[in-house]
């Protein structure tokens, strides 16, 4: 059983060092039951504060938080059908792993045999069947992360909150955990609300993403929509490399005040294959960066205007691009995206 989570006009304001900080300002959000929803944004953007308000660790100064339509805004954490996987796992160091996982059942009065059995089952689900009797300091980071997950699931919550749980893991482990979390969510069918500042993580795991910037929610969309049709400049630049053009630069290419096109959508044509009709833009290569599967070129258009980033795939290229080379840039009209609002 899983629930929907809604934030209605939620704000969180507090005073720190004599200044008023608007950690979260007027956020409206609807997470559907059974969804894998990610809160994405840079540090200080308010995404973690939002998560903490859903969990009950911080109380909103304004607005309401609803779970399945019930107003839980002022409820403490233990009175919400929500469980959390913390960024640094927060395992109880003085208890064994088994006791850690069984904790949620212990405080609800479940008898020892039942809860230990369930805890052991969960440890098997996260592929750590042998560690029950050890203590948290004896486990590696990756193992602790799975224990934290198991512990959070024992109460069968309707919503699981994950606060940047993969941040402390190295790349390989992180990628592995990403796919495991995704399949776990599908299997359990409960609502996952995931916080991260890593856009790749967000794009690969989520059903929908909410992008935060300075306490405000700038856009909520599926990964594809977010990537291809960002509604603000911030979102465009945060979610991936982007060419964002404003004002006169934008009008050069379309009837709009603000435009975006992704570098990988900009086709690079070189002298050698000059058989097609004239390119949209001709320019000189100013910088070349090698990214393994492609080069990223910074091209200065010959007729003036802002420089454009373009990706040239390695496959199909005769030779590496050089600085000073003249190239032609082209694109499909549909890949040029008009940004409706520079700011929300």
């Amino acid at each position: 059983m899983s629930s929907s989570v809604s934030l209605r006009d939620v704000s969180c304001v507090f005073r720190s060092a004599g200044k008023t900080v608007h950690a979260v300002a007027g956020v409206n959000l609807d997470v559907q039951a059974g969804e894998f929803f990610t809160l994405l944004g840079p540090s200080g953007s308010g995404k973690t504060t939002c998560l903490r308000m859903i969990g009950g660790f911080t109380l909103p100064t304004d607005g309401r938080i609803l779970i399945d339509g019930q107003d839980v805004s002022q409820n403490p954490p233990y009175a919400r059908p929500v469980n959390t996987v913390f960024q640094d796992y927060a395992l109880f160091p003085h208890m064994s792993i088994l006791d850690n996982v069984a904790y949620g059942l212990m405080v609800r009065g479940v008898d020892k045999a039942s809860r230990e059995k369930k805890a052991q089952q969960l440890l098997e689900t996260v592929q750590l069947p042998e560690v029950g009797q050890r203590k948290p300091p004896q486990l590696s980071g990756g193992q602790r992360q799975r224990v934290a997950l198991a512990r959070a699931l024992i109460n069968e919550p309707q919503v699981l909150l994950l606060d940047e749980p993969l941040g402390a893991l190295d790349l390989k482990l992180r990628e592995q955990m990403q796919s495991e979390l995704k399949s776990l969510q599908r299997k359990l069918g409960i609502t996952f609300i995931f916080v991260t500042h890593d856009q790749h993580e967000a794009l690969s795991m989520s059903d929908r993403i909410g992008v935060f910037n300075q306490g405000r929610l700038e856009q909520v969309a599926s990964p594809a929509d977010l990537y291809n049709r960002p509604s603000t400049r911030f979102v465009a630049e945060f979610v991936g490399a982007a060419n964002v053009l404003q004002g006169a630069d934008a009008r050069r290419y379309a009837a709009a005040e603000a435009l975006m096109i992704r570098p990988e959508r900009v086709q690079v044509r070189r002298r050698a294959d000059d058989t097609a009709p004239g390119p949209r833009v001709s320019g000189v290569v100013r910088e070349v960066q090698f990214f393994g599967a492609f080069w990223r070129l910074q091209v200065q258009p010959l007729d003036g205007g802002a420089p454009l980033l373009a990706d040239l795939p390695v496959q199909g290229s005769d030779h590496a691009p050089v600085v000073g080379e003249t190239v032609g840039l082209d694109w499909v009209d549909g890949d040029l995206h008009i940004i409706e609002a520079l700011h929300p």
């Binding site: 403490p76 233990y78 059908p81 919550p157």
Partner: protein, 315 residues
Amino acid sequence: MTASSPTSAAARNGLLDRLSTLLYTRRGLLLGVLLAPPLLWFGIIYLGSLLSLLANSFFRLDDFTGQVVREVGFGNFVEIFSPTNLDVALRSTLMAVAVTLSCALLGFPMAYYMARYARGTQKALLYVAVMLPLWSSYLVRLYAWKLLLAKEGAISWVLQALHLQWLLDAVLALPVVGGSSLSFSPLGTYLVFVYMWLPFMILPIMAAIERIPGSYLEASADLGASPAQTLRQVIIPLAMPGVAAGSIFTFSLTLGDYIIPQVIGNSTLYIGQVVYRQQGVAGNLPFAAAFSLVPIVIIGVYLWLAKRKGAFDAL
């Protein structure tokens, strides 16, 4: 609480749950509940006592009835400035200063060694060696010195064995600090004070020196300073807050003490003794109260000076 539905984290209504929720949503209330007992205790019992002390210092003792007369007057304060009392205050302050300086000089080398050279077991051993006297009984340590300083005691015996008895006699014949024997002279009092408070000086200095980043010392050596110069120019100035912190203890403890001068010393009086006698034997609580403000003021001034040297950060 039933175990049958772990999925229902719905309304929990036990009394503890409701109380817990109340404290959770009203953090101010939680703070109040936590702070109320200690604050009430300290406010009423301790601050109240200090206030009543202050009040008493304005009252006076009726010579005939021996009762405390509760009228505001400044007689006690005038009395404080009488020659004998000023003498007492001066003597106590000088002793406190002498003890503080000696403890700093004696304690610094040991603190320096402990901070910079001692490691592992040796360091733990030295740390315990300083901690134990600090925490063990004041009176027992005092008693030990009474034994040591007695005419027939260990120090005398050692000096006799070394044929240095004449030295002791010469020292005891000195005007201000001498006396009939070590245990009946200000010199003896001074020795015992230094012994008592030495650990209080060593630990803060050690902590302060430990906090000096190794890179400072390396930089000093790199720039050409000899170890002695590094000690003088870098270590000692940076260790000063620790010295100041330790000095707060030695100064204030010496200033208020009345037992050591009574057990080991001649009949000259110190502040603590005056206060004690006035409130005890003489029954003159008002004057004792007034006189006890003297060390408070002196210590207040000293604390202000120490704070400027950074002592509070070193505590």
